[in-house]
């Protein structure tokens, strides 16, 4: 088994990566989508042509079902013709290794020597707090304790639908080291507008240089967060440790630079 996986690794051409079904290089991709077309042979043909245009050879419609008058759901397989050269890709990521709650507390104790103050909220009209609570609440999420549980974090969780002005005012009042904002609703890009406004207020208040700005949400990525002027953005699969470690390291960097 071991031998096989080693030899398998050998065959992978990192300059020409494509999807893997059960044989290297087969390019197998599965798709499902709905077409605004009446179900039947024609819908299948439309799907095949469309999938070909997506760069998938040998399109096979394995299932179709009429959803409503003039709408058809299809499941389609195809072989991807494109490849990606992975050797030229540099992903800006959060480089430090994963630390546990205890390690992070210890790191803060030895490198900063005081508690890190955090203010968190879901701002704007967004009413969702699941993500915010998963990171901040004592209980955390899926066995990962939230920041309230950490000895070296002092957390103010303002909850949902907090106006950006109030959020920033509270952060100034608490002299927060980091501001955590959560955004779940992304319909009509309402989160982009809200986050842009938040950054503007933070800059107007003159605290952008010392406050670490963090945003989280199901549609958030590091790249989008940076584009909006945040220090980091966390998406699905994030646990409190990830956020805690990032804040701790960033604060140490800031304090170093200040000296």
């Amino acid at each position: 088994m071991n031998k096989r996986s080693r030899s398998h690794k050998h065959e992978v051409d990192l300059k020409r990566i494509k999807p893997y079904g059960d044989t290297l290089g087969d390019g197998k991709v599965q798709l499902s989508f709905t077409l605004p077309v009446e179900s039947g042979a024609k819908a299948e043909e439309v799907a095949r042509r469309l999938v070909k245009k997506m760069g998938l050879d040998n399109p096979q419609v394995v299932y179709q079902e009429g959803l409503s008058e003039g709408f058809t759901f299809l499941i389609v397989y195809g072989d991807c013709v494109h490849t990606i050269d992975t050797t030229i890709i540099d992903v800006p990521g959060l480089s430090h290794k994963r630390m546990s709650m205890g390690e992070i507390d210890e790191f803060i104790r030895s490198s900063i020597g005081r508690k890190i103050r955090i203010v968190g909220a879901t701002t704007g009209t967004d009413a969702h707090t699941v993500g915010l609570d998963a990171i901040l609440n004592m209980k955390g999420f899926s066995g990962h304790y939230g920041l309230e549980r950490y000895e070296m974090f002092e957390v103010y969780n303002m909850g949902s639908q907090v106006p950006n002005e109030e959020f920033v005012a509270k952060s100034v009042e608490e002299d927060a080291d980091a501001l955590l904002v959560s955004q779940t609703v992304t319909a009509k890009d309402v989160h982009i507008k809200n986050l842009t406004e938040l950054i503007e207020i933070v800059e107007a208040e003159g605290i952008r240089d010392r406050a670490i700005m963090i945003v989280g949400g199901p549609r958030m990525t590091g790249a989008l967060a940076k584009e909006l002027g945040f220090d980091a953005g966390f998406g699905p699969g994030t646990f409190a440790e990830d956020v805690a470690a990032f804040i701790a390291h960033r604060l140490v960097d800031q304090l170093d630079r200040a000296q």
Binding site: S68, T125, D126, A127, T129, V130, V185, V190, P218
Partner: protein, 521 residues
């Protein structure tokens, strides 16, 4: 009841008694107060509709005038009735003239109660008639068309555009949905007025307006006619306009309403006094209109742990049942809420879910229980999500739930695609059909995991209810007994809209609805 859980009847009735005394105390407080939202509701029931040139609804203009003049405590019915007794034509005219600044109804000579009631009578009768007619129309359609078997398949549309919502809803009906809920635009619960007219722009949902209700009702009646079963329409009777949404729903024949003050307090930071008072009249209307209310206990588990905090759900169901009874809501119109939200990695988690669902079923045997799908542990792995939803469907059919809010495999990713809804309806239909009689065919092991768990949850819920009775509901909410959220009695939004009822205050609709609710059954 021939229970599977071997519950101790006296223990259940004891818990119910404790909940009743909690609800009674709340009700005393409620009866002494009215709110801006309740008075606006009375305006609407009297036939006041429409907005002024700057889009402010007439009920808001009139009630704000009363509030500013410091006479809200006398109530809109009394003052409008008095205006009518002073020879004004009708309530709509009163509102329009007052809005235009041509009339100040707080300055008119006061007539005696009897002539005020007499002046109001035809408009009160008309408001009641509209609601009754809708109730009869629903009954007629159900007896003619029939309806889907329980658990009703409940899906959500949320495009922000009512016309697009209607397309999605009709597709869902064709695939088998029994209830269509139109999710409201984010933030509507915090608006202290109801928007007017058809809307095509919303955030994460569509504004609840009376015209949007009408548009969707028409689309569903047509789709139901075609599908050969009555399709229920659901919206959200919560937030700062609770009773107003109730009356709009009653006028447009909505069938199901989310209707829970505790939800607004905990998750929308709405002032608890305001919304508990509002809730009562909204429930009186929903009860009278034949609307099934849905309570929001399931939401507690999105922030608190579903295994550890299961008893808070049961305790809240007990309280909600008693508050609903005080508003005249028949048991079968009570969609008490709960959810399938335990961590999927929990060993035997499904057995605990089964215990909880069966517990709700046996304790509230007549209720049309509303069962909510997994959301908290939906990860973006849509394939596993689809399996989680299948287990949720199994628990539901096994324990005879009333309303099945279908889980979407793309939960936490985006508002449902048309195909997501199709896949979830297919999933539920497969499970429900394939396991239809599983509940009648099985017993739970005496003293086994499920029975033991159910007993434990009941005991913990009873203990919590006793604690809430000791401290009172308001004080308990301040201490954070539900969902781990603490709310101050005087905090949150909307307290400025609460007043003590004055000597002349009257609400002719509440009087009639509370009397008439029973005889129509």
């Amino acid at each position: 009841m021939t229970g599977k859980l071997n519950l101790d009847h006296t223990a259940v009735e004891h818990a119910r008694d404790v909940a009743r005394s909690i609800a009674d105390e709340v009700h005393h407080f409620v009866q002494d107060h009215t709110t801006t939202a309740i008075e606006r509701t009375i305006c609407r029931l009297l036939g006041i509709d429409g907005t002024d040139a700057s889009d402010i609804p007439y009920p808001n203009i009139l009630v704000n005038q009363l509030h500013e003049a410091g006479v809200l405590e006398e109530g809109a019915a009394f003052l409008i009735g008095n205006a009518l007794a002073n020879d004004l034509k009708n309530p709509q005219k009163v509102a329009e003239e007052a809005a235009a600044g041509n009339l100040d109804i707080t300055k008119l000579p006061i007539n005696d109660q009897e002539s005020i009631r007499e002046a109001l009578a035809p408009f009160v009768a008309e408001g009641m008639r509209r609601i009754k007619n809708n109730k009869f129309e629903r009954q007629r359609m159900i007896s003619e068309l029939g309806e889907g078997p329980q658990p009703y398949l409940y899906v959500i549309v949320a495009t922000g555009n009512i016309y697009e919502d209607a397309v999605q809803a009709v597709a869902a009906v064709e695939q088998g949905a029994d209830i269509i809920a139109v999710i409201r635009s984010t933030g509507q619960s915090l608006l202290d007025y109801v928007p007017y007219g058809p809307t095509t722009e919303g955030f994460g949902g569509t504004f609840a307006t009376q015209e949007n209700f009408r548009i969707m009702r028409e689309a569903l009646d047509e789709a139901g006619e075609k599908a050969g079963r009555y399709i229920r329409l659901c919206n959200y009777c919560s937030g700062l306009c609770m009773p107003e949404i109730a009356v709009m729903g009653a006028f447009e024949r909505l069938d199901v309403m989310l209707n829970d003050a505790l939800y607004g307090i905990l998750f929308r930071d709405i002032n608890m006094q305001r919304t508990i008072i509002d809730q009562h009249f909204s429930r009186v209307i929903n009860g009278f209109a034949g609307v099934i209310i849905n309570t929001g206990e399931d939401n507690y588990l999105t922030t608190a742990d579903a295994y550890e905090e299961a008893h808070t759900v049961l305790a809240s169901q007990f309280i909600n049942e008693q508050l609903a009874l005080l508003a005249g809501i028949p048991e079968k119109q009570m969609g008490l809420g709960h959810a399938f939200e335990m961590d999927p990695n929990l060993e035997n988690g499904f057995l605990y879910e089964l215990a909880q669902a069966q517990l709700s079923r046996e304790i509230f045997p007549q209720a049309t229980l509303k069962y909510m799908p997994p959301t908290k542990y939906m990860t973006g792995n849509i394939f596993r999500g689809h399996v989680q939803n299948a287990l949720f469907n199994v628990a539901s059919i096994w324990t005879s739930q009333g309303i099945q809010l279908l889980g979407m495999l793309t939960e936490a990713l985006h508002t449902p695609f048309m195909s997501d809804r199709y896949l979830s309806i297919e999933n539920a239909k497969y499970v429900f059909n394939n396991m239809r009689s599983i509940g009648e065919e099985t017993y739970f092991k005496e003293g086994g995991i499920i029975q033991t768990r159910a007993k434990q949850v009941l005991a913990e819920a009873t203990e919590l209810l006793q604690e809430i009775r000791r401290n009172g509901l308001f004080e308990s909410l301040q201490m954070g007994v539900f969902a781990g959220v603490k709310r101050p009695t005087n905090g949150g939004k909307g307290l400025e809209g609460v007043v003590n009822k004055g000597r002349n205050h009257l609400n002719p609709f509440e009087e009639l609805m509370c009397e008439g609710g029973e005889e129509d059954e």
